[in-house]
C-alpha cells in the first residue's frame, strides 16, 4: 500500500481548532480546510498540553480524508466482484442490517447479536454504543478495544484508589525529583510527554526507565532497568523490599491514608535484591540504585503503559507499581504523582461511560441494582430490562467460534490485526451468520463483513474525549462526511430506526448526547455533570470529576481534604473510609514461558510513524515511507547464534503462527528477547504469533510475552 501524498500550498477557506485523531495525548492542532477537504495543518500554540508540538502522525494526519480508499457508499459482500464488495444504497444497507439483527435475535435470542466498539470514538459515541447494545439490541454482549489498552491499569487503579484516571496533570512531571517510567516507549507512543520528561531532567530530576529495550526515552535514563519481559511484579516487589529495609517510607501517610501495608510488607520480604535480580534479569546494582533514587526522593512521578499492562498478570504488575507509590506517600500533592499513559485517542473517556462489558455510564457497575436503577431512569427503561454483564472482546470471539454469538456489529475496532492469535480471530469472523462493520476505510476486519456502513473520520464530527491527564477536550468538526458516509451516531440511530426501536435514539447532535451523558454520570465517580462544551472551550479542557456548573474540574486527584462521592469527606481516596489500598501482588511467570522448543521471548509494540492496527496510518504516504515494514529487532549476540545478519530475512515461529521479516540487529534490546511492531496485517502481522492468554481480572491479552523460535529464512519473503 503506497499511502497518499498531497501537494500543500493551496490557500485554505478556513482553519479549525481541534485535536489530533491519534493517541491519548490529544494534541491541539489546527486543520486547514478548503472546499470541504482538509488540506493541511498549522501548529496550535495556544493549547496548553502540547503548545504547538506534534509527532509525525499529527503532522501528516490531514492526508487521510482525501485518500481514494475513503468509503463513500455502503458496501455489500459480493463474491463475484473483484474487490469482494459492491456498492449499495445506504438505506438498503441499513434495512438489511436491521432485518438480520431481527432474524438472528428472534431465532437465537437477543444475546446472539453482539457489538464491538472502540476507544477512539468520542465519548458521546462510546456512550451511545453502550446504550444501543443494552436498550436497542437488548444484548449483554458489548465490549471494546480498550480491552487491549487500558484495562489492566484501570482495574488496578480501582483496586488501589477506587477511581481510574491518571492522578495528576502532566505539569507535575516537570518538577519531580524522580520520574519513573515503566513499560512505556514514551518517545514513540506518546511523543509529547518526552518534552515534559526532558524538562524534568533539566530541572534536576532523575529518570528511571524500566524496559527490555533501550527506547529513545531510555537513552537518557539515569538508571535503566532492562527487565526480562513478564517480570515486573518481581522488580517492584524487590524495590519495595529495599524501601522497607532502608526505611524509605512515609509512615504517616501509610498510617493515615492507606490500608493493607503490613500484608504487602510481609509478602515482599521474599524479594531480596539477589532473587529480584535473578528473576528480572537486571543487575542487582541497578536495582539498588533505582530503589535508592526512588526511596530517597521528595517528589516523584511514576507512569506506566502497555509494557507492564499487556500481561496475563497485568493487574498485579500495575498494583505492584502502585504499592511503591503508596509506600512513598508521594501522591495527591504537587509534583507527587502517578499516571497511566493511555494509548488510544479516547482511551480514558472511552472507558468511562458504558461500552465495557460490565459497565454503565459514569463508571457505574452493571451488576449493582442501585446503579442499574439510576441509569434505567435516565434512559426511560425498566431496570430489569437492562441486560447483565457480558464478556470481554476476546471471549466474544470464543463465543462466536462456539456458535453462541451469531451476529456482530463492529465499529472503531480492527480485531483481525489487533487481537492476539489472529488466525483464530479470522476463523471466528468467518463463522458469523451476519457481520456488519461501520468504518471509514475497508479495514482488514471489514473485509469479512456482509454489510459495511460508511462512518465518519475524526474531522467529520464533533464531541469530547478525555486525554491522558483526564482532561476532557472538544473535537471540532472540520468537514462533512463525503458521499453517503454519515457520522457514526447517525448510523447507529438509523439502525435503531430501521428496527423500529427509536426510544432513546432520536438525538439531533453530539451535544444532545453529551447532555444526556452528563446527567447519566451525575453523582458518579466519573462525574461529568458540570462539564459543558462552553466550559471546555473557555478553560482549554476540563479535568473530570466536575460535579457542578460552578466547579472548575479536578486536575489533581487525592489532594488532602478533597471531597469525593464515595468517601464523602472521610479521606482523599475513593473508598468509604477514604483510604488507598495496598494490594499484595504475587509474582507469576508469563502464561507461555520459553523452553527448549521455543527458546526466545517475543515482545510486541509500536513505532512512532504508525498507529495501532494501521487502518489510517498505513494509508498516509510519508508515514509509510518512514517505517515501511515491520522488522524483527534482535541483539547481535542472539543474531550470531542463528547466523543472522542485519537485514536478513528471518522466520519467527510460535505455537500459533509463523512470520518472515527482515532482521534489525541492534544492541539496544535484551539478548533473550526479540521485538516486532504490530501495525501490519496479513503475513506481516505480529499477532499471528502472540498468545491469547489473558489477565484473569482485566482480561487484557498478553501481547508482551510469548515463546518463539527463530531461523534464517529459506526462500523469499511473502507480503
Amino acid at each position: 500500500m503506497e499511502g497518499l501524498r498531497l501537494d500543500t500550498g493551496a490557500e485554505p477557506d478556513r482553519v479549525v481548532n481541534t485535536h489530533c485523531c491519534f493517541c491519548g495525548q490529544q494534541c491541539g492542532i489546527q486543520l486547514k480546510v478548503k472546499d470541504n477537504v482538509v488540506i493541511g495543518f498549522e501548529p496550535r500554540y495556544d493549547f496548553p498540553f502540547n503548545k504547538g508540538m506534534l509527532c509525525p502522525k499529527g503532522v501528516k494526519r490531514y492526508l487521510q480524508g482525501a485518500h481514494p480508499d475513503r468509503l463513500t457508499t455502503a458496501l455489500q459482500r459480493d463474491p463475484s466482484s473483484e474487490s469482494g464488495f459492491k456498492s449499495i444504497a445506504y438505506d438498503d444497507a441499513v434495512a438489511r442490517v436491521a432485518s438480520e439483527i431481527q432474524r438472528i435475535q428472534s431465532a437465537y435470542g437477543n444475546d446472539a447479536f453482539g457489538v464491538l466498539s472502540g476507544a477512539s470514538l468520542t465519548t458521546e459515541k462510546a456512550y451511545l454504543m453502550g446504550k444501543f447494545a443494552r436498550v436497542c439490541l437488548k444484548t449483554r454482549y458489548i465490549d471494546y478495544n480498550g480491552r487491549l489498552c487500558m484495562v489492566s491499569a484501570g482495574a488496578a487503579n480501582k483496586k488501589a484508589f477506587g477511581i481510574d484516571r491518571s492522578a495528576n496533570p502532566w505539569d507535575d512531571i516537570l518538577n519531580a525529583e524522580v520520574v519513573l517510567i515503566a513499560g512505556s516507549n514514551t518517545a514513540e507512543c506518546s511523543p509529547i510527554t518526552t518534552n515534559y520528561v526532558w524538562q524534568a531532567r533539566e530541572n534536576g530530576g532523575k529518570l528511571i526507565v524500566i524496559d527490555p529495550r533501550i527506547t529513545p526515552i531510555a537513552r537518557n535514563a539515569d538508571v535503566f532497568l532492562p527487565v526480562k519481559p513478564g517480570r515486573d511484579v518481581a522488580l517492584f516487589n524487590g524495590i519495595l523490599n529495599l524501601m522497607i529495609e532502608n526505611d524509605w517510607l512515609d509512615h504517616d501517610f501509610i498510617e493515615q491514608h492507606t490500608v493493607g501495608f503490613d500484608a504487602v510488607a510481609e509478602h515482599v520480604k521474599q524479594w531480596t535484591p539477589q532473587r529480584t535480580a535473578e528473576v528480572t534479569g537486571i543487575a542487582e546494582k541497578s536495582i539498588r540504585k533505582a530503589a535508592e533514587l526512588w526511596g530517597e526522593a521528595k517528589t516523584s512521578f511514576l507512569m506506566h503503559a502497555r509494557g507492564i499492562e499487556h500481561h496475563s498478570h497485568g493487574v498485579e504488575n500495575c498494583l505492584s507499581a502502585i504499592n511503591i507509590v503508596l509506600a512513598s506517600g508521594r501522591i495527591g500533592r504537587p509534583n507527587c504523582a502517578y499516571g497511566t499513559v493511555v494509548g488510544q485517542g479516547n482511551g480514558q473517556g472511552g472507558r468511562e461511560h458504558g461500552q465495557k462489558a460490565d459497565q454503565l455510564p459514569g463508571w457505574r457497575d452493571i451488576s449493582n441494582p442501585e446503579h442499574r436503577a439510576f441509569i434505567a431512569n435516565v434512559w426511560g427503561v425498566n431496570a430489569d430490562d437492562i441486560p447483565q454483564a457480558g464478556v470481554d472482546c476476546y471471549e466474544m470471539m470464543r463465543k462466536i467460534d462456539a456458535g453462541e454469538i451469531k451476529g456482530l456489529l463492529c465499529i472503531c475496532f480492527n480485531p483481525k490485526v489487533s487481537l492476539p492469535d489472529n488466525a483464530f480471530v479470522t476463523r471466528a469472523l468467518e463463522k458469523l451468520e451476519f457481520f456488519t462493520v461501520i468504518d471509514f476505510f475497508l479495514s482488514e476486519t471489514a473485509q469479512h463483513a456482509d454489510i459495511v456502513l460508511p462512518g465518519s473520520l475524526h474531522e467529520e464530527d464533533e464531541g469530547v474525549v478525555a486525554q491522558v491527564e483526564g482532561r476532557v477536550i472538544k473535537i471540532n468538526k472540520a468537514v462533512d462526511p463525503p458521499g453517503d458516509a454519515k457520522q457514526d451516531w447517525r448510523v447507529i440511530q438509523d439502525i435503531a430506526a430501521a428496527l423500529h426501536r427509536t426510544h432513546g435514539f432520536t438525538f439531533d447532535s453530539p451535544r444532545a448526547i453529551f447532555d444526556e451523558l452528563r446527567v447519566a454520570s451525575k453523582g458518579s465517580v466519573a462525574d461529568y455533570f458540570g462539564i459543558t462544551y462552553e466550559k471546555i472551550e473557555a478553560q482549554n479542557g476540563v479535568f473530570w470529576p466536575c460535579p457542578s456548573d460552578d466547579h472548575p474540574g479536578t486536575p489533581r486527584l487525592f489532594e488532602k481534604d478533597s471531597w469525593n462521592p464515595v468517601a464523602k469527606g472521610s479521606g482523599p481516596f475513593y473508598f468509604p473510609d477514604g483510604k488507598a489500598r495496598f494490594n499484595v501482588a504475587a509474582y507469576r511467570p508469563p502464561a507461555e514461558d520459553v523452553d527448549d522448543e521455543y527458546p526466545i521471548i517475543l515482545t510486541t509494540g509500536r513505532v512512532v510513524s504508525q498507529f495501532l492496527s494501521g487502518t489510517q496510518t498505513r494509508r498516509i504516504g510519508p508515514l509509510v515511507d518512514q517505517y515501511p515494514e515491520p522488522r524483527i529487532e534482535m541483539h547481535p549476540k542472539l543474531a550470531a547464534k542463528y547466523g543472522i545478519n542485519d537485514g536478513d530475512e528471518t522466520t519467527v515461529e510460535s505455537r500459533r503462527g509463523t512470520i518472515t521479516l527482515r532482521a534489525q540487529v541492534v544492541t539496544t534490546i535484551r539478548p533473550d528477547t526479540i521485538f516486532i511492531p504490530y501495525h501490519w496485517p496479513g503475513r506481516q502481522s505480529a499477532n499471528q504469533l502472540t498468545i491469547s492468554a489473558q489477565d484473569p481480572v482485566s482480561k487484557i491479552p498478553e501481547f508482551k510475552v510469548c515463546a518463539v523460535r527463530m531461523q534464517k529464512a529459506e526462500g523469499r519473503m511473502q507480503k
Binding site: M53, C55, E202, F224, K637
Partner: protein, 199 residues
C-alpha cells in the same frame, strides 16, 4: 517573533516530526530541508537533527562559483538563487555540517532558510514548532537559559583549522558528558562474547 534557534541532539527522539513538518512548508513543499539520522543505530537509538547552522561566514557561499548563495542582513543564509545556481555541488561538498542538498529535479541547491516565510512574519519555524522533545527550539536566549540550566548554547565550531561561528546554537551539557547506556551492563547475567563498542 524575535528569537534564536537552538538544536539539542541529546533531546532528539528520532521521530522525524521535524522532517515531516518541514516538507509541509509552502516555499519548498514536498521536500524536507532537515536531515535526521541515526548516529550508529546498531549500538544506540541516538539520532541527530541537522538544520542549516547559518554560519557567519558561510562556507557554502564562499565556495559558490556563481555567487548564488546569499546571507541576508538578519544572518539567515538563503537557499541558492534559482537564476544563478549552476548545480555544481560545490556547496554540498564544502559545507562542514553537510546541510545543502542538490535537488536534481530543479537543478537547484536547496537548504533550510529558517522558515523565512514564517519567521519574517513573527511565527516560529515549522520544525521547532512541532518538535515534541524540544530538540529543536526557537525562542529567546533568556528563555533558553531559564528553561535549560543543565545545558549551554554553543555556536563556535572547529573543523581542522577552520573556526566557524553560527547563528544557530547547539546545546551541550554544562557538566559531564551524557553517559552511554548499554543493555548488557545493566543485566544480571555476565555479558559474554559482546565487546563493548566504546572500550
Amino acid at each position: 517573533m524575535m528569537g534564536e534557534f537552538f538544536v539539542d541532539p541529546n533531546r532528539c527522539i528520532g521521530c522525524q516530526s521535524c522532517v515531516a513538518a518541514c516538507s509541509e512548508c509552502d516555499t519548498h513543499r514536498g521536500v524536507s530541508m532537515i536531515h535526521l539520522q541515526y548516529v550508529d543505530r546498531p549500538i544506540s537509538v541516538q539520532t541527530v537533527p541537522v538544520v542549516c547552522m547559518h554560519c557567519d561566514s558561510p562556507t557554502c557561499a564562499e565556495v559558490c562559483p556563481a555567487d548564488a548563495i546569499k546571507r541576508t542582513g538578519d544572518g539567515v543564509v538563503q537557499t541558492a538563487r534559482k537564476p544563478r545556481c549552476i548545480a555544481c555541488n560545490n556547496c554540498v561538498l564544502a559545507c562542514p555540517f553537510g546541510v545543502p542538498k542538490m535537488q536534481v529535479e530543479y537543478s537547484l541547491m536547496m537548504k533550510c532558510d529558517m522558515c523565512y516565510d514564517r519567521t519574517s512574519v513573527g511565527s516560529k519555524p515549522m520544525c521547532a514548532s512541532v518538535c515534541p522533545s524540544g530538540a529543536l527550539y526557537f525562542g529567546s536566549r533568556e528563555e533558553m537559559e531559564k528553561q535549560r540550566p543543565q545545558s549551554q548554547p554553543v555556536n563556535t565550531f572547529r573543523f581542522g583549522n577552520q573556526t566557524i561561528t553560527t547563528k544557530v546554537n547547539m546545546m551541550v551539557p554544562k557538566q559531564k558528558p551524557v553517559e552511554h547506556i548499554d543493555v548488557m551492563s545493566a543485566m544480571n547475567e555476565e555479558p559474554i562474547g559482546i565487546e563493548d563498542p566504546f572500550e
